[in-house]
Each structure stands twice: as structure tokens, then as C-alpha cells.
């Protein structure tokens, strides 16, 4: 009863915006998939001469909304009253475009499906290379207008391309679009972590040992950030205040350290003779999850940001590493090994209810969460070929988003 009430209120508010709304709808359909909103997405009309044959914005918008799991996307060539009625579609996205050389002008519309009245209209203009981003922005608007939630469709994933000789940092849209290199050198560049929307901190062997570097992905400038004559690696940047937590062997043993965004205030926070590594922040900045072999094998632990109250979380297998804390704050993803391969698991932050997320063959490693905590990206593969995959936090709707066979060690950007 509660469920039906909630959905009815949602429909009524869309109806209020449109002015008119069909009275009859089938409530059973709404019970099926995550309270999702049926929505039609139609091809945009070409108002110019040149035809768009790739990166079609209506395709991108439909894919984004379907990916979120919050919309039932009906794709049609033109408004189809019968199909709309059969699928309880009340809203429709369509638009217009004009392509002149390398410049595109895009008009996107959300309209009432029955009356055709426009609810929302947005205009975008720019270089063709930004076409997918324009579409992602409109999809974000759809999330905000219809669900009151921030859209993450303009989020990015920074990752490592390993061509067998060198490891370089690449970046791509969350859906695998616009893949481009941000380092391009001989050597090993690994473990990237977004510092903010335009900077990345990572580990590089440029000086013959693992040190931390910081680079701006807009200007392309990078510089050494944290170093010693020993190992400095696995950086993670807090979304609250930009503090960096990382692992280092500078005091004779692999331990976890924290510093301020300007490198000041360097503080060691683990002191166990174990290997303590792979730190990651909680979304509120109060705690750090990490990997330690202090109990005899690598397992996931949490502690306060000052190192106090260390608590072990994982007890099931004999090898767990690379924790990633959900932006929702309630669960931690990690990789756990059984029979020589890893799978992605999630566990409650108090150690309760470990759940296996991946079932695909190949070794599934290095999880990272979407900005809203709904999805997990990870690398999946065997032997030479490793690609980036994305899956819902409950393990459903697995998708592969790279095809190079060389993608791993991802970090998904934050809101």
C-alpha cells in the first residue's frame, strides 16, 4: 500500500507540471523495477544539412537513464500512442540538432507524452567532441527534475592502461566514452585517485621507485607530490577536506600515513609490523578502511582517521584487499580471492553481511563506487586481457565499458 501511494504521488506531480494527465495506469508495472519511471526517448530531428551518425545524443540520454535503473526507457522512432499506453509512458524526451562543420547546436526537450506539451527545454552548443557530455548533462537534469536526485552521468573514471610494456593513466566518461590518455610515458603509472574534479594523485616509478605525483587533467601539468627513498603508494583523497591517506615504508615497515592537501601535517597512523596498505577514506572523513596482514593474511580493516579503534571486517576468505567505501557510507567493497581468482564483495561497515557481487569468470579486482553508491566499476579478466566492467551494487546488470583488454585500477570521480 505504501509503495502504491509513493508512486501515485510521483505521477500526480508530473501531471501537475503537464497540466493534463491520463487517469488510467497499471500499478503492477510500477511494482516491478525499482519504482522506475517509464519514459520514451525519441530520435532528435535534424534541422540542418549534415547528419549525426555517431554519439547520437538520444542514444546517450536513453542509455544513461536506463543505466540508472530508475527509468524504464522505451525507445521509439516517433510518438506511439498505443505503445505508450501499453507501457504507461507519461513523459517523452525528444529534440533537435543542427550540425555545422564541427559545431553542434542541440535542443533537448522533456514533454508530456499525451499532450506533447514541453515540460523542460535545454539548449547546448559547442564542439562536436563535447556532444556526449551535452547529452550526459541533459540526463543529469532528468534525474534532478523527475527524481530530485543529483545525476552522475557526467562523472569520469580514471584508470590504468597496461600495454604490456608501460602503464599509463587514462580517463573516460563513466560509460566508456571519450577514452584518452593523461600520461603518455615509458614507465609505470598506477593507483590513480581523483583529488578533485580536475586533479589526480597517483603512484609513479619515474624516479626509479614508487612516489606519489599530482597532475591536473585540464592543464596537463604534473609534479611530484610525496616521496622518500622508500615506497610511497596507494593514495586516496578525502571528499570532505582533500586530505590524502597513503601507504609508505619510510619508517622501516609498510604503514599508513595521512597528510593535508598541501602535504603538511604528515602523520603515521598505523604502527603494526604487518603490511598495512590500500587505505581509503570513509565518505564523512572520520574513518579509513585498509588492508592488513596483521592476523596472518591480507584482510580488510577499518580504523578512525587518527589510527584509533582498529577493527577487522573480513573473516571469510584468506585474501582480501583494495577496500572502497560506498558514498552512501554503509558498505565497503573489496576484492576477495577464492581458488586463485578474485571477486568483488561488499560488507557492512560494522562487518556484517558480506555479499559476493560478481559472478563473471576471470579475476574481478579493484572496485570503485559510482558517485551515488548505486554501481561498482572494477576490472575483470584473465591473463593478458583485462577490461573495465560496471555492475549494480546488488550484482545485476553487468556491463563491460572498455574493449582495449588493457584497463584496470579505476577510480570513479565524485559529485
Amino acid at each position: 500500500m505504501e509503495h502504491m501511494k509513493k508512486t501515485a504521488i510521483l505521477l500526480l506531480s508530473i501531471g501537475a507540471m503537464c497540466g493534463i494527465f491520463a487517469a488510467k495506469f497499471n500499478l503492477d508495472l510500477y511494482a516491478s523495477k525499482f519504482d522506475s519511471i517509464p519514459i520514451a526517448v525519441l530520435p532528435f530531428a535534424n534541422k540542418g544539412a549534415a547528419v549525426l551518425d555517431t554519439n547520437r545524443p538520444w542514444q546517450v540520454i536513453g542509455d544513461d537513464l536506463a543505466f540508472s535503473g530508475r527509468f524504464n526507457v522505451l525507445r521509439a522512432d516517433k510518438p506511439d500512442t498505443a505503445a505508450y499506453a501499453a507501457n504507461n509512458v507519461g513523459v517523452q524526451i525528444d529534440g533537435e540538432y543542427t550540425l555545422t562543420g564541427n559545431t553542434i547546436v542541440l535542443d533537448c526537450f522533456l514533454r508530456d507524452a499525451a499532450a506533447g506539451e514541453q515540460i523542460v527545454g535545454r539548449k547546448y552548443q559547442g564542439d562536436l567532441k563535447h556532444l556526449r557530455t551535452m547529452a550526459h548533462r541533459f540526463a543529469n537534469e532528468m534525474m534532478e527534475i523527475m527524481l530530485g536526485e543529483k545525476g552522475y552521468f557526467t562523472s569520469l573514471i580514471v584508470y590504468v592502461r597496461d600495454d604490456g610494456k608501460n602503464k599509463n593513466l587514462w580517463i573516460m566518461d563513466y560509460d566508456g566514452g571519450n577514452q584518452r590518455a593523461i600520461t603518455n610515458a615509458a614507465g609505470i603509472n598506477i593507483f590513480p585517485s581523483f583529488a578533485d574534479s580536475s586533479s589526480v594523485i597517483w603512484t609513479s616509478f619515474l624516479r626509479g621507485k614508487p612516489d606519489l605525483y599530482k597532475g591536473n587533467i585540464v592543464t596537463g601539468r604534473s609534479e611530484i607530490f610525496m616521496y622518500s627513498r622508500y615506497v610511497t603508494t596507494s593514495p586516496s583523497v578525502s571528499t570532505v577536506d582533500g586530505r590524502i591517506v597513503f601507504a609508505s615504508s619510510r619508517n622501516g615497515n609498510m604503514d599508513i600515513y595521512v597528510c593535508e592537501p598541501d602535504k603538511s601535517g604528515l602523520k603515521q597512523i598505523t604502527f603494526n609490523k604487518a603490511v598495512d596498505t590500500s587505505p581509503c577514506w570513509s565518505p564523512n572523513g572520520y574513518q579509513v578502511a585498509f588492508c592488513s596482514d596483521r592476523a596472518g593474511s591480507p584482510q580488510i580493516y577499518v580504523m578512525d582517521a587518527d589510527g584509533a579503534n582498529v577493527k577487522r571486517l573480513t573473516f571469510e576468505g584468506n585474501y582480501a584487499d583494495s577496500p572502497a567505501w560506498s558514498p552512501k557510507g554503509d558498505r565497503i567493497a573489496y576484492q576477495m580471492q577464492t581458488d586463485w581468482k578474485f571477486d568483488i564483495w561488499t560488507i557492512g561497515v560494522n562487518g556484517a553481511n558480506p555479499v559476493k557481487v560478481t559472478t563473471c569468470p576471470g579475476s574481478n579486482e579493484y572496485p570503485t563506487w559510482s558517485p551515488d553508491g548505486s554501481h561498482i566499476a572494477f576490472s575483470s579478466g584473465r591473463g593478458g586481457a583485462i577490461d573495465m566492467c560496471v555492475v549494480r551494487a546488488d550484482g545485476t546488470d553487468l556491463q563491460r565499458i572498455t574493449k582495449s583488454g588493457q584497463a584496470k585500477m579505476a577510480d570513479w570521480s565524485h559529485f
Binding site: 604490456g164 610494456k165 602503464k167 609505470i188 598506477i190 593507483f191 616509478f205 624516479r207 626509479g208 621507485k209 614508487p210 611530484i224 616521496y227 622518500s228 627513498r229 622508500y230 615506497v231 603508494t233 596507494s234 601507504a247 615504508s249 622501516g252 609498510m254 603490511v275 598495512d276 596498505t277 590500500s278 588492508c291 596482514d293 591480507p298 585474501y319 584487499d321 583494495s322 576484492q335 580471492q337 586463485w340 578474485f342 579486482e365 579493484y366 591473463g383 593478458g384 584496470k408 585500477m409
Partner: protein
């Protein structure tokens, strides 16, 4: 792993060449592991001292360009040391090789060594940086038991990021990746 080629220095005199050749043959026959700590250091090794630490704000580990003779001696004596799965303990074969390496360090007290710890590809990338670090330190600690000053030996870890052999399918192949490698530093 990409092998660095050492530049051979030009102009080796005939006298030096014959001496070197004779020396190579002799050393190949007479190499044996040095005994534990009660070793008498050679006079010239005692006189030579390790180069001062690089105290500039940005330390860099770069392999030295050795002359031909030294390059060959390094290739012969600074062989990798191998480890058991998930372990950083030194096996008998590792200890034997470390003895030879210690001899090299004593003979060349002015040279710094870099120990690079590595892991096989089966574990996780992040934890393996730690295991590689332990392997490198195990070798350095053993060398210091031989009287090699810690100032003469640097350590670092590559985790599983630089395998000697990639895409291993069997244990014999994985063994080749669980190693410490030794490089002469500038």
C-alpha cells in the same frame, strides 16, 4: 621486463683487457659464498667508502652506466634471488647468491646497490607492493649481517607491476617472478 643495456666504454687497453680476461676465468672457478659475519674485509674495500647519500629534495634511483669490466662482473654476480609463494624468507639458494652479492659490495665499496622486490601475478596489486617491499628488505638485512653498510644498499618494491615473465600459466613460470633484483646505482 625491459632490460637496460649497459653502454660499453670505449678504449680498453690490451693490458687491461688481458688482465680482465684472466681475472674472469679465475673468478669463475674460485667463486664461493663468503662465510658468515666473521669475514676479514679486504684492505682496499675498507679504504673505499660508499658515496654520500643524495640529500637533495628529490631522490632518484638511476642505474649506473658501468664500464665493460664492471658490467660483466655485475651481470655475473648480481643475479636475482628467488622466493617461495607468499613468503619473504631467504631460501638456501637465495643465501648462496646473497653471499656472492655481498662479495661484490665489499669489492666495490664505492658503489651503491638497489634491491628491487617483486611478486608473481596472482595476488592483488596493492598488497603485493608490501610483499615486494618485505622481500627487498630481507635481502638488505642479510647483506648487512655480512657487514655491508645499510648506506650502501637501497631498497624498493615493484609489487607485481614488473614481472620478469608475463602471463604465467604454471608454477615454474610464477617462480621466476617472485624475486629480488639487484642493480648498481649512479
Amino acid at each position: 621486463m625491459v632490460a637496460r643495456t649497459m653502454m660499453a666504454s670505449a678504449g680498453i687497453f690490451a693490458f687491461g683487457l688481458s688482465l680482465m680476461l684472466a681475472g674472469c676465468t679465475k673468478k669463475a672457478v674460485n667463486i664461493e659464498p663468503l662465510p658468515p659475519p666473521a669475514l676479514q674485509p679486504k684492505a682496499d674495500a675498507a679504504a673505499a667508502r660508499p658515496r654520500a647519500f643524495d640529500t637533495s629534495s628529490e631522490i632518484s634511483f638511476k642505474e649506473a652506466d658501468l664500464d665493460e669490466q664492471l658490467r660483466r662482473e655485475a651481470a655475473e654476480k648480481l643475479k636475482p634471488v628467488y622466493f617461495d609463494f607468499n613468503s619473504f624468507s631467504l631460501r638456501a639458494d637465495a643465501i648462496e647468491r646473497l653471499g656472492i652479492i655481498a662479495g661484490f659490495c665489499k669489492d666495490h665499496g664505492n658503489l651503491r646497490l638497489l634491491v628491487q622486490g617483486h611478486c608473481d601475478e596472482r595476488g592483488s596489486s596493492e598488497y603485493n607492493m608490501g610483499l615486494g617491499e618485505r622481500r627487498s628488505r630481507a635481502a638488505k638485512d642479510y647483506l648487512s649481517d655480512y657487514g655491508i653498510s645499510p648506506a650502501q644498499v637501497e631498497v624498493t618494491s615493484y609489487g607485481k607491476e614488473q614481472p620478469a615473465v608475463a602471463g604465467c600459466g604454471d608454477e615454474a613460470c610464477h617462480q621466476q617472478n617472485r624475486r629480488d633484483e639487484f642493480k648498481v646505482l649512479q
